[in-house]
Subunit: 601 residues, 2 copies
Amino acid sequence: MAQPIADRRDVDFVLHEQMEVTRLTENETFAEFNKKTIDMIVSEARSLAIKEIMPTQEPGDAGCVFDGGTVTLPECYSRPWELFIEGEWLAMADTPEWGGQGMPKTVALAANEYFIGANVAFMLYHGLTHGAAKMVEEIGNDAQKKTYLKKLYSGEWAGTMLLTEACAGSDVGALETTARKNPDGTYSITGSKIFISGGEHNMTPNIVHPVLARIEGAPEGTRGISLFLVPKYRVNEDGSIGEFNDVVCTGIEHKMGINGSATCSLTLGGSGNCIGELLGEENKGMRNMFIMMNDARQLVGLQGFGVATASYMHALAYARERVQGANMVKPKEGSVPIIQHPDVRRQLLEMKANVEGMRSLIYFSGICHDMVKLAEDEETRLEYSQLLEILTPIIKGYVTDKANEVCSHGVQVYGGYGYCRDFPVEQLLRDSRIFQIYEGTNGIQSMDLLGRKVGMSKGKPFMGFLARIKKTIDQAKESEALSPLAVKLEAVYTRFNEVVVSLANAAMGEKVQSAFAQSHPLLTATGDLTFGWLLLWRAVTAEKALAGKPKKKDLPFYEGQIKTCAYYINNTLAVTLGRLAAIEDMDDAVIGISEESFGSK
Amino acid sequence: MAQPIADRRDVDFVLHEQMEVTRLTENETFAEFNKKTIDMIVSEARSLAIKEIMPTQEPGDAGCVFDGGTVTLPECYSRPWELFIEGEWLAMADTPEWGGQGMPKTVALAANEYFIGANVAFMLYHGLTHGAAKMVEEIGNDAQKKTYLKKLYSGEWAGTMLLTEACAGSDVGALETTARKNPDGTYSITGSKIFISGGEHNMTPNIVHPVLARIEGAPEGTRGISLFLVPKYRVNEDGSIGEFNDVVCTGIEHKMGINGSATCSLTLGGSGNCIGELLGEENKGMRNMFIMMNDARQLVGLQGFGVATASYMHALAYARERVQGANMVKPKEGSVPIIQHPDVRRQLLEMKANVEGMRSLIYFSGICHDMVKLAEDEETRLEYSQLLEILTPIIKGYVTDKANEVCSHGVQVYGGYGYCRDFPVEQLLRDSRIFQIYEGTNGIQSMDLLGRKVGMSKGKPFMGFLARIKKTIDQAKESEALSPLAVKLEAVYTRFNEVVVSLANAAMGEKVQSAFAQSHPLLTATGDLTFGWLLLWRAVTAEKALAGKPKKKDLPFYEGQIKTCAYYINNTLAVTLGRLAAIEDMDDAVIGISEESFGSK
């Protein structure tokens, strides 16, 4: 049977050979884990994903049912939901003190790749629950942790995140939900929220909503926003479920995809009876939300990646099986599998290069998380946490842009069949389109990169990130086979250095708008360079393995790593050079054109 | 009210100022038409499209109903269907002898832009009917014309095109439908076809199917394929509808989009009772089909364009209305319409440039059609018909790739709302995805460009096409304002000339496969250059108008033309230069990588 979600050989390669994840287990924090347990975890996740979660993907696409305030999820979700909770998969990398499994984040990401690739809509509930729990762990007081944390990490209760309102989307500071302080220290919450994933459903006895709201009299804008914990049902002193907390679902969206994920509109305090507790300090809601936002954005990148790798696996299997047309250089030998046609092959290699770039990037972000945890000095901790901040817009923005492209190639490889709902690539493409939008549109990610991350701490962390790329280039230069690729990547690296500095300077000057009109192209160029680096790193690793007399069955894999890197550097990065020239040019048309000139009213 | 499908100002600009369509009416063939009648035709089409067809777009998305062999189209289609037929819109540019309106093709394309932008699924039925009719006109004998042609051009009956079978998609030559000659000269047809748009429905009393089939004993592959006319109901001597012809619909596809278009599976002769008449000569079916294929492919480009221009109009109106976030350089002035944010503006200008490139390209293809018709000497006729052959893969392949991108930007400008079915951009993105696939995937278009069109007639027509681009560059160089843009376009033009020759040579040599692995990038580069040319041509035209003291209200339009051209040349074409370098490099990874290396089985 074909690999259905992710290529296990590549998962293992990145975990063990590229990222050397077992090194982490030399530290006592991860002493319980070793190569064997790690492989077992991935195998179990893979098995649960394939056997139990994947079969719910297509039926779940029929969507959720809203009826009189209740939301019923697809019936088929019940069993895998239970198994997922039973297997304690929700808080894999979190602290055992509160019910987590304490494993390296890198390993948890590999497991999640399978779960998400099996059904991203299903996994959204668990991802949000995890995010809400993490917020309670990081910001909550002891009582809040005691009341909520274990119930969330275990998955007994679900969690969400209530930010968006009809007139406060990208501009969160415009929100209108209010909180009035009660004599007992709680707050009465009133407002309406939209686009709330998992805002209401029938899978758990309670749902915990972290809510952004403004305390009456607080400043306008983001400086006056506070964070509250608002459960669907209040919680009694003994932890049991109390009375209904006046959080009412008023409808669900009908969407292009992720239809198994209920996107809810919620009214809080419509009957004047919604009580929340302050989470963290007053008016620090935005800052606290941003602590979590990076995690949430990295999760969206993981979602894009999970869906893209599934699409690639399907397209690859199809291209190996579907017989259509003769081989170009052997026309008389009759019809062949379409993987033999150059343009199909190009699309598959484009998919492969991007999916593998994603995997390396996302597992590397896991290493960074783990290094933050293991760091014995503040310098190391800061290095990895700042590196994560830099990687976040690339993971959220660039990965999801590419994921949508990969899924579109997946459809194209299937031809007319790819456009039909009978084939999974169709749904994967629809599902993938949301990732570029939610948790901050990719436009916002690009502004984050140019406006915050490049110049953060006087640019030192960004320079540190680039130095890692240079190091891999220097390593590759020592190999005869890889040196030409390293030289090409270095040319892009050098141009990138020049351009990013010139754009960052422009962004602080008079031409700030024209500079930000190039922020998305810069995000793309940064992502291209990052993937070029990670694929060259893979090639260096593969070449070492080839030099070490590997098993014969492993040869195609390692040789494929070098070819994939060559494809990417020779094709994609050539285009990147052109893009960098345009960014440097910083043409003023986008800003200079008048609003009227866009078209008649 | 905002322009809802296409910007009429731009439609008029391309028709009258860029393409000077009224020049055609100096010829007696089009003597009935003048600027006034042309404008009236466009206005009437626009009005019908907006008032009657556009309201069916969203309800039509609910799809068609298949039940026991019958297919029921969305109820709301009935009224606009009738009005479309009554208004004689189906055969606008066809010969009055057979019921056509005899107008210039260029004008018909402008009208169709509105119809298709209003509801592409609805218009598919009429597009296919027109294609079937054209085939009868070009290849049919007098009796066939008499029986079918007026009924098709009037829209009284519908038409289709039966090519694809389950194992014969891109490889049409693999088809298995057979035809056995009967003593009376007719043929008994037996086989099964899939993916037949409009293969069965309840809107017309009869449906005429041109069918590709192999006469028993004919050669294998494409050389043994013949074309047959197979009506759903046989036609009596007097033209009235006779008995059922054993063409049975066995199901319809459930698709990502164009759900108002019934995509049918048909069984022919399941009861041994399906009779067809030969259309054209025996075993010349593929050749004859290809006569029509160029038209069909151009229509798909028009579909992509129509949907993209609608998405742009929606996104523009939304960006002007939706207030969210402060202006970057006036943060204290509060929230502003999102069109003021640089990255939203970049996306809108990207959409505008592409939509306007498409409009100029497609109207220019209309001019070519009209020039073929008006040509007084064979040289002129050949020049324009060969130019059309060159433009076809660009119109089908490049335009539909860009149309899908434009529609994706449309969703992105709407943010979370864009992902919801309540907003038209969501459906437009789903609808647009098929255009890259049907009538020959865009991979096949790119092979057509590199394998046939570049080298056709020793490359003379392709050089003639490039010479037109050079001519516009030279014109623009004479203008002080446009000269820098002309110089930049010339640099791309020069590189393109080098690269296309080197790739075409490689495609005839040993590295044919590596060359064809670059065919899609070449198609993209060719399209980029073509749009750069057309946008510079627009800028030259606009600058002339500006020099002639235009009305004040026209200034933003003309200035916008120059800004759009600058944006495109400075941004998109910089990237094209990078792409051309990669094409020239012709890296061998796509072909060199082993099939096993793509991933574990």
